[in-house]
Symmetry: C2
Subunit: 276 residues, 2 copies
């Protein structure tokens, strides 16, 4: 069989490895190394700085779990901001919610958008939706310059190294608080509890100091380190745990469901201990 | 840094890789290849036929999740059988339940027991408990020769290749039904939904045809394929979903909790579709 084996060292001592049939595109952008490859197990796969960002086979988990818990909690999410997320997967899920009138996506790297449209078309499929505005810009600065503007903000960033490092700082969460309307809420991907327990602990503490409601939830993503991913949600008013299951719409999803809306917040004991 | 990188190909095209500092023991037993190695990330690790069975760092998830959901469902689990499980991890969790008067462990390979005691002492720590009887024997035959004997049976097997293959057949589940008392129940590890969807579907269907109550639940185990593991439970009478959270004891665990007892049965949509 042609191709080669790609390995991502997820820690200094542990990694995943997969067969790559061919490299579709490789480029050092202004911000990061971008590789788009075709894998045998997971379809086309986007790598940034050698880390798996998304694959055609398992992308639905991450994208659904960023978008739906928060959009099914806020009663009227008209104005939504996505920081990062240039592949368009989170936007695709947002567009399933009719209440969203306008979704702004701010990704620092236009090349991610360009090559996602080309090689991940079923992920990037809503980037040209008339309800969507795409800006190639610094998400941190966009947040700092926005006041009282958004109902919901989703932070779909890379790992806390490279261009996304400022997106895990307390100042960023304070900026998000000010960019949100008086009943706004946000969610951010916050890595995994097996290898990044310190990060989760720090982010959860920072968000708790700023937002009256702070919640952590989890999802299984096979191509992400440890397979267990956390999301941290901060809210000025609405609590995802107060939503009634029977009032959650049954959207066309493959992972998220009304029942899972509550179950995903029930954390294994060692994870719960990190965020209390 | 000394050592080498061990890689388990979890499918033909995907695997995990980790740094091994040293090999502690390696042997072709009468049944399988046994390797005990010291890893940098996960501590000591037991491999059978090149597949990760357990590691010191993440073993608690699997062992707790085999033992506690079922033992906190059956009101009087006096007689318990473990098929496989020679490392002793499931037994250690069973011994946390005072209601268990006798736990029989039947593993086909005495070498697994011997080297787990030597290199995984905190996992194997209850193998000599007076409430435990260890038999080096064929678990399939033990089941076939047992009638109306056990309250709870736990199948802690390897993957459905090699010596454990018969443990995934319908005839085995029929044998379990007959080995159980009139209100007995069993649980088996049933691999992952990302790469083994067909197996989960088949096992669930087989168990449903035999047991009036059939349930599937999941847990996150970083060193197992995809990080998401399923367990299939068959019961003649008691339903784990009927257990009241406030009646579940808060045992000394690191993953399982009374709240998780219910949440772990809420399956992602694509997994739920496999078992309905």
């Amino acid at each position: 069989m042609a191709g080669f084996w790609f390995t991502e060292k997820q820690t200094d001592h542990f990694g995943i490895t997969m067969r790559v049939n061919q490299t579709l595109h490789t480029e050092q952008t202004d911000f990061q190394k971008l590789d788009m490859v075709e894998t045998e197990e997971f379809g086309n796969m986007l790598l940034l700085d050698g880390m798996v960002m998304t694959t055609q086979v398992d992308e639905f988990v991450y994208h659904e779990m960023v978008a739906h818990p928060i959009l099914n909690t806020h009663p009227n999410p008209e104005a939504v901001l996505v920081v990062g997320g240039g592949d368009g997967g989170v936007l695709r899920e947002i567009m399933k919610h009719d209440k969203v009138e306008k979704a702004v996506l701010v990704d620092i790297d236009g090349k991610v958008i360009e090559y996602s449209k080309k090689y991940l078309p079923e992920i990037a499929c809503e980037l040209d939706n008339p309800r969507v505005e795409v800006k190639v810009d610094d998400g941190f600065m966009h947040i700092i310059n926005s006041k009282d503007m958004y109902d919901v903000i989703m932070v779909d960033s890379t790992e806390p190294v490279g261009p996304a490092a400022p997106l895990f700082e307390r100042g960023f969460y304070q900026g998000i608080y000010e960019a949100l309307k008086e009943d706004g809420m946000f969610v951010a991907q916050t890595d995994n509890p097996w290898f990044k327990a310190d990060l989760i602990q720090k982010v959860s503490r920072d968000v708790r100091e700023i937002f009256p409601v702070t919640r952590t939830y989890i999802a299984n993503i096979p191509t992400y380190p440890s397979g267990m991913w956390t999301f941290t949600l901060g809210s000025k008013k609405y609590d995802p745990l107060a939503v009634k299951v029977e009032e959650i719409p049954d959207l066309p999803t493959k992972y998220y469901s009304p029942e899972l809306h509550h179950a995903c917040f029930v954390l294994p004991k060692f994870v719960k201990a990190l965020v209390e």
